[in-house]
Amino acid sequence: MGKPADRRDRAGIHFTRIHLLYLAAGIGFFLIPLAADAFYTRLAGRILIYGLCALSLDLILGYGGMVSFGHAAFLGIGAYTVGILSNHGVESAWIAWPAAMACAGVTALVIGAVSLRTSGAYFIMITLAFSQMLYYFFAGLADYGGDDGMALWSRNSIGGPVDPGNPTQFYYLVLLLLAIVFYLCRRLVHSRFGMVIQGAGENERRMRAIGFPTYRYRLVCFMISGAVAGLSGALISNQTLYISPALMHWSRSGEILVMVILGGMGSLAGPVMGAAGLLLTEEVLSEYTEHWMIILGPLLILMVLFARGGIYGLLSPRRES
């Protein structure tokens, strides 16, 4: 008897196991600065930041079925917002980071407004087109370094006892932000808004027929995703203290996409694992041989062929069949 009570029960077991996984991951990430040297802390921070960006993509991709092949654009906009503000003397994170989110969000709003009129592969390509436009725009923007990009002279300041200039503190700040965003996104995808996004991702025509103006919902979701990606851009520019159009190149969008798929989309936690998986593999392999891509390529292919659902799918209990 598939009574609702029964269902909640099963869901309960499923949830604790996943929660355990999160807890383990959380503790693991928390311990890194204590156990590892500055280099690994920085690497872990990078993973978290790209994880944040991949997570934002997962929001529209894994749940809303919107395959954006231009997500790096929002990352770049976030980074440039921080950079340009800092160039004009605005150093406070309280201004710069929300501004990065706002700029990326507004950019997403504009891009989304046009792109969401299309669907499927057309959507993939039109988002790519917009990100390429932005790439060329910033590559030609001589005032802010053009193609050479620009260096930041210091990290944004937060005030109080928190000093982002300190690598460990910055790391924990990133971890905290990721945790917050992760929690908010989990709420979001299970909320009523989230259901609409998921429904529209699956069958937009049907959604309209039952009375949802899907365009609006998807646009808002796209904007939220863009804003979160903008935040990750602000963070990455703070970590590397350097901003260039390369952040927006299509291959970067591709990498973010790979992180999401590799990690397992539609799971929010998966993309973070995907970021970790990709960046770590790159790091390890490239230490062994300069021809590391000849190994990474087949490795990814094997992942696709034999580990459906990505890393998340491997780790989490299989969904009922």
Binding site: Y40, R42, A142, G145, D148, Y242, E290
Partner: protein, 368 residues
Amino acid sequence: DEIKIGYMATMSGPAASLGIDILDGFKLGMAHKGGKLGGLPVELIMGDDQLKPGIGVQVANRFIEKEKVDFVTGIVFSNVMMAVAKPITDAGIFLISANAGPSPLAGARCLPDLFTVSWQNDQTHEAMGKYLQDEGVKRLYLMAPNYQAGKDGLAGVKRYFKGEIVAEVYTKINQPDYAAELAQLRAAKPDGVFVFYPGGMGINFVKQYAQSGLKEEIPLYTTAFTIAQMVLPAMGDAALGLLNSSFWGPDLDTPVNRKFVADFRKEYGRLPSLFAAQGYDAALLIDSAIAAVGGDLSDKEALRKALRKADFASVRGDFKFNRNHFPIQDFYIRKVIKNSEGVLTTKIIGTAFEDHADAYHSECDMQW
């Protein structure tokens, strides 16, 4: 004990051959010093920036935080240099650029621990501008990719060329085909064309320039960035006869250079490019400085002083550092020829500058 040197360059993708040439030059320099630098054994740690500044920063941080290197060298591209220069030098590590020489780092944002053994970006272009001015070319047509290095390059030419600029055309980065631009160019009928197209873009441009029959009509002038030794085979006869400027050429007649070129050919089975020459000089510079301080790397001040002296026999002959740690050196005009074995290479046909300093050093407030 031992010194650790981090070698960071673009080692993958289409631009990999630059990083590889610099590295081979650097290794040859070490070999000439008995496999050591300044008498100390060397551990060379590799890092590939993949031509992405972000990856460059990551590699830099590995060098700084994990490997704790004493020197970093290599660095092919300006955008990578801009990203890593500050973190590396901030960590108290000497950065010896074997290629990239972006203008901000030569001017207002010069760094006391950055030494550029190659050139400042504009210098090579300026040399060609000077030559064209001296040759009395009247109407010049300029082309470059639409990015910072392209704009700097054309600015360098214009700094010394005072004739009429017929047009200044910027093309998309990594644009493969120039048919449309060449048609425009032909219609404009200039006396000469100067282009800055490094790497694959240069191969495409030079080939297409020849294929369109323009090579016979309008002379094409470039720099060693377009006519580097490693791209000549791919250009084939299309490159034959082209004039270009450089601070160095394989036929430059100094004893050190003769040995360098001969040994490089023996070791790697090909002619060295100017990038290899820069790598070689980078090794010698480090060697000379460590030797000068007697292998004691703890005294940064002394080491910096030793580096500033540039007391080594460079493949280019005489050369000294300006106060911004960029070289003051001669520039030559080279012509593409086929050598006796039928291999494409360059031959120096004249000197554009003697002891040429870059245009930005006055903005640098470093005193020594």
